[in-house]
Structures are given as C-alpha cells and as structure tokens.
C-alpha cells in the first residue's frame, strides 16, 4: 500500500514537472547544444551549413570592431555602476529619514523603472538633441555652452550611461531601502552616545551593513549593462564613429543585418563567457572582502 502510494506520487511529480522539462529541452538544452555546433559553421540559414572548423574564432580574434564593442560596453559599465550606487544610496538614505510622503517620493523615483526602454530612449534623444534639446536649452539659458551629448564620440557613451542610471536607479533605491531598514537602530544610538557624527555613522555603520546589497546592485547592473542594446539602437545606431556600438548591438547586426549566423553565435558564445567571468570575479572579490 505504502509502496503504491509513493509510486503514484512519483508519477504525478513527473507529470507536473513535465512542462518545465519540455521547456528545458526545447528552449535551453537544444539551444545550448546547437550553439556549440553553430560556432564551428558558416551559415546564413538559407543555404546549407558549412563546416569551417575554428575559423569563426580566428575571425573573432581579428575582429577589431567586436573588441571595440566590448570595450564600449565596459566603458558603459564603469560609468553606470558607480553613478548608480552613489545616486541610489544618497536618495535611499534621505528617504529613510523620518519624513512625510516617503511612499510618494519612492513611487516617483520608481516610475522610469517600469516604463519601456524604448520610451525612455526616445524621450532622452530629444533631451540630448544638440540644437533643440531641453538640456542644451537649459544650459544656454544659464549662460553655459552646449554639450554635444550624443553627437561627439567622447560624450555619447557617458550620455547613454547617465540615461540608463536615470532609468534604473529607482529599483536600486528600493533595494537599498530594504537594506537600510534591516540595520538595527541601537547601533546608531550607541554611536551617537559615543559622539559619532552623521558622516562617521554613515561610513562605519551604514556602509558596512549594506555590503550585501551593494554586491547585489553591482551584479544586477552588470548583467543588465552587458545586455545594453535598445538604448544605442534607438539613440545613436551605434555611432558616432562606433563609440556607442555595444557588444549586443554588434552581435545583433552580425546575425540579423548581415546574416552571419555561425559567426554571430560564436560572438554570443564568447561574450557570454566574458559576462560569466566578470560576474564570478565580482562575487569572488566581494566574498574576500567579507572575510
């Protein structure tokens, strides 16, 4: 009787897991295996696949534009992540004070998070426009000179990073707020009795207590940053002079503009390895810090 019972439980268990198993086989397992086959082939989907051995990789390592696109993506991350942490932390600490309408402010800061990146980018394309953009109009009204936000190669990627920070920071404010509310009050009270100033309290109590949240923010925005695509696609198309060509945009162009499926799969494979490595290194570094 007992045996029969667990048998039927197993059956139902497999049956109810079946949707995931099918999903895994079709949309995870197969693509993974197939990507491994693709990287050794030249293929444009229409004509038959052609075995090219390691030639895709040889081409990759000679592909200056691809490495520039990775560098561009890293440049984006280097500006975006610190900016994001500083702004989110500042606003979260302010929101964590005893203030009225906290929920309202939080909701307003969160607004860009829920709106499509397409909307945000179209909006900011106008804000950044050289002659008629609002930001430059404000600058000239204040007697300053115009900034070539998205028309100069040195400015374009930082401009996109600023926009991305504006879009995402609300989420990280909320994550920091959760972290802040987990810090016990008595720590601050004790520090106050010992005569620690607010700045000291921030650096010796708040910041260490938020360590795990900071790790989370860094990893989440790294993963997000590595998939940077729609912003440069809409805002600049990768220009000027390829300065905002992100790795994802380059892979997209190789696959769907030029039809180089095998090569694009190789790029995707290589890039995914980089993403994993960077995230693993970040985790390692921070774990060491904990010890």
């Amino acid at each position: 009787m007992k045996q029969k019972n667990t048998n039927s439980e197993s059956k139902i268990g497999y049956l109810m897991s079946l949707p995931y198993i099918l999903y895994f086989l079709l949309f995870v397992g197969f693509p993974l295996v197939f990507s491994f086959i693709l990287i050794f082939h030249k293929w444009n989907v229409i004509t038959p696949m052609e075995w090219v051995g390691l030639r895709n990789f040889i081409r990759l390592f000679q592909d200056r534009l691809f490495f520039q696109s990775i560098l561009n993506t890293l440049k984006f991350l280097v500006i975006h992540i610190p900016l994001q942490i500083i702004v989110a932390l500042l606003l979260a600490v302010l929101l964590n004070q005893k203030i009225k309408a906290r929920g309202f402010f939080r909701a307003v800061y969160f607004l860009p998070v829920i709106v499509s990146g397409v909307v945000i980018t179209l909006l900011w394309r106008q804000l950044y426009a050289y002659d008629s953009g609002l930001l430059n109009i404000l600058l000239t009204k204040m007697g300053l000179s115009r900034i070539p936000w998205i028309t100069h190669p040195d400015w374009a990627m930082p401009s996109i990073a600023i926009m991305a920070t504006w879009k995402n920071v609300g989420l990280y404010i909320v994550l920091f707020l959760v972290g802040l509310q987990g810090i016990p009050r008595y720590l601050y009270e004790a520090a106050e009795i010992d005569g620690a100033r607010p700045i000291q309290q921030f650096f010796f109590i708040t910041l260490p207590a938020l360590n795990s949240t900071i790790v989370l923010v860094i990893i989440l925005s790294t993963i997000g940053g590595f998939s940077l695509f729609i912003e440069p696609f809409v805002m600049t198309g990768g220009g000027p002079v390829n300065s905002t060509l992100s790795a994802m945009l380059y892979i997209y162009n190789q696959a769907f503009y030029f039809g180089h499926m095998g090569y694009a799969a190789t790029l995707g494979f290589f890039f995914a390895v980089i993403v994993l490595l960077v995230v693993l290194i970040q985790k390692k570094l921070v774990e060491q810090k904990d010890k």
Binding site: T6, E9, S10, I12, G13, Y14, M16, S17, P19, Y20, Y23, F27, L32, F34, S35, L38, V45, L91, L94, L95, I99, F105, A107, V108, Y109, F110, L111, P112, I114, V115, S116, G117, V118, V119, L122, L123, W124, Q126, S132, G133, L138, G170, L171, L175, L216, L220, F226, S227, F229, I230, F233, V234, M248, Y252, A255, A264, A265, G268, F269, A272
Partner: protein, 269 residues
C-alpha cells in the same frame, strides 16, 4: 532646518524623474514648432501628432498584439509556474532535487549564448512572423517557478492531508487550496512577467518582420529609427506616449505591488 534641505533635495530629485515624462506628454500635444519649449503649457494644444502616428503605422493593432501576447505569457507563466512549483515543493519523487539544480543552473546562463540558436529554432518550427514565436518561448519562467516553490514550501502540510482525506487529488489541492492562499505570489509573478513581456523589444525585433504582428515597443522603435516618422518629433513623442500610458496607468493603481514585486528580483541571485 535639516528637514528643509532633505525635502528640498527630495523634491528636486522627484522633478528630475517626473518632469521629463510630464514634458513628453505635453509635447506630444504641442504643435511641432513649440516642442522645444521647456514649459508644459501651450495655448495651441492639438492632436496633429497623434493623427500622424495613427495614419502612418497600425498602432492600435500593435497595442492589441502587445496586450494579447503579454496576457498569454503572463497567464501561462502563472499557470505552469504554480504547477511545477507545486511538484518541486510538495511532491517527493526521484530526481526532484536534480530538476531544481538544473533550474538554478540555467538561471546563471547568459541569454546571449542561446539567442541565435533560439532564433534558428523559430525558423525551423516555421514560427517566424507568428504569435507562436512571441508567446511559446515565454510560457515558462524559471524565476516564476522558484517564487511559487518558495511560497508553497511554507503552506502547512495539515491542509494537504485534510484535503486528501476529502478525496482531493494534487491538481485540486493546487487550484482550490493553494491558489486562493497564493495571492501575493501570483501578483508578483504576474506583474514581473507582464512587464517583462510588455517591455521586451529585442526578441520581437528578431522574430517578427510583418507589421501586422509587431508588438507596440517594436513598432514604436522601428517608427522612430526606420525613418517613418520623417523626423517629426511630435509624432515620435506621441508614439512613445501611447506606449508608456498603459503601463503608467496600471502602475498608478498598483504601484506598491509593482515596487514590491521588482524588489523580489533582488532575490534572483
């Protein structure tokens, strides 16, 4: 005095986040010549930009496509997510922990590696330029499964035992007993998958080429970068406003749920 500076800072911050949206909505009603004005008010508000959008692209069709696709994806993610989550939390069978391990492992895989093969799979299935390509790959979310599993683990075993004595099978237990208790997690999974699907633009760009099947963000993107807007700023902003309004309206009513749901994505790693 200190309070004053905090409020001042928060209000300036609030304006920085909210004003561009207000300006965009207002500018989409301004005549083309006034768009670069910084202020919100104009005495010449007009619907010209919206008329241009509606004339040039089938935006209502795109709105329908987006609503249809996102609803199917969301319902399916909740339905299958709860079923698999139930199996992985309340049933004992050989290989269960292995499946769980596979789920956790696949969440680490960057999507960049599977993107191209996924597209080719869609080509082979003949799903390019069909709703199938937009819906089927999104029908299951591993994150959804994990959220359901986590929630179901905390439901007392007594409830299940009692239901079994009354002759309920596992599906009945799931839908009659677990579902009504699971409102918070259903809302969370629902919001996350609806937003994810509604705002996704890379995948539709890849698998949909015909206008009739394009989702709204895709159509607005191509409208703006494909030159159809003919450098009419007003039309672009009107299209962007139409794309933003539905989600902002939902957010206005359920903002607390949105924020709490998004905060759970923090658990992801």
């Amino acid at each position: 005095m200190k309070k004053f500076w905090i409020y001042l800072f928060l209000i300036v911050g609030g304006l920085i986040f909210a004003y561009p949206f207000l300006w965009m909505i207002s500018a989409s009603f301004k005549p083309e010549i006034e768009i670069s004005h910084v202020g919100l008010w104009s005495s010449n508000f007009t619907l010209n930009s919206y008329e241009a959008v509606v004339q040039k692209i089938p935006i209502w069709r795109a709105l329908f496509n987006s609503l249809f696709v996102s609803s199917c994806v969301t319902l399916s993610v909740i339905f299958f997510g709860s079923i698999v989550g139930y199996a992985l939390s309340r049933l004992r069978f050989f290989g269960r922990d292995f499946i769980l391990g596979v789920i956790l492992f696949t969440m680490v895989i960057p999507f960049q590696i599977t993107l191209i093969p996924m597209y080719i799979l869609m080509v082979k299935f003949g799903w390019v330029d069909s709703y199938m390509a937009l819906i089927v790959p999104g029908m299951i979310s591993t994150f959804g499964i994990l959220l359901f599993r986590q929630f179901f683990l905390d439901i007392p075993q007594d409830l299940i035992d009692a239901a079994r004595i009354d002759g309920c099978n596992d599906l009945m237990i799931l839908f009659r007993i677990f579902w009504p208790l699971s409102r918070p997690v259903i809302i969370t999974v629902g919001i996350l998958s609806f937003m994810g699907s509604w705002n996704d633009v890379l995948w539709p760009l890849i698998v949909i080429r015909v206008r009739e099947l394009m989702t709204m963000p895709q159509m607005v993107t191509l409208f703006a970068v494909g030159g159809q807007a003919e450098a009419q700023l007003g039309a672009e902003l009107a299209a962007a406003t139409l794309l933003a309004i539905p989600i902002i309206l939902v957010y206005a009513f359920f903002q607390r749920y949105f924020i709490e749901s998004m905060a759970t994505t923090g658990l992801k790693n």
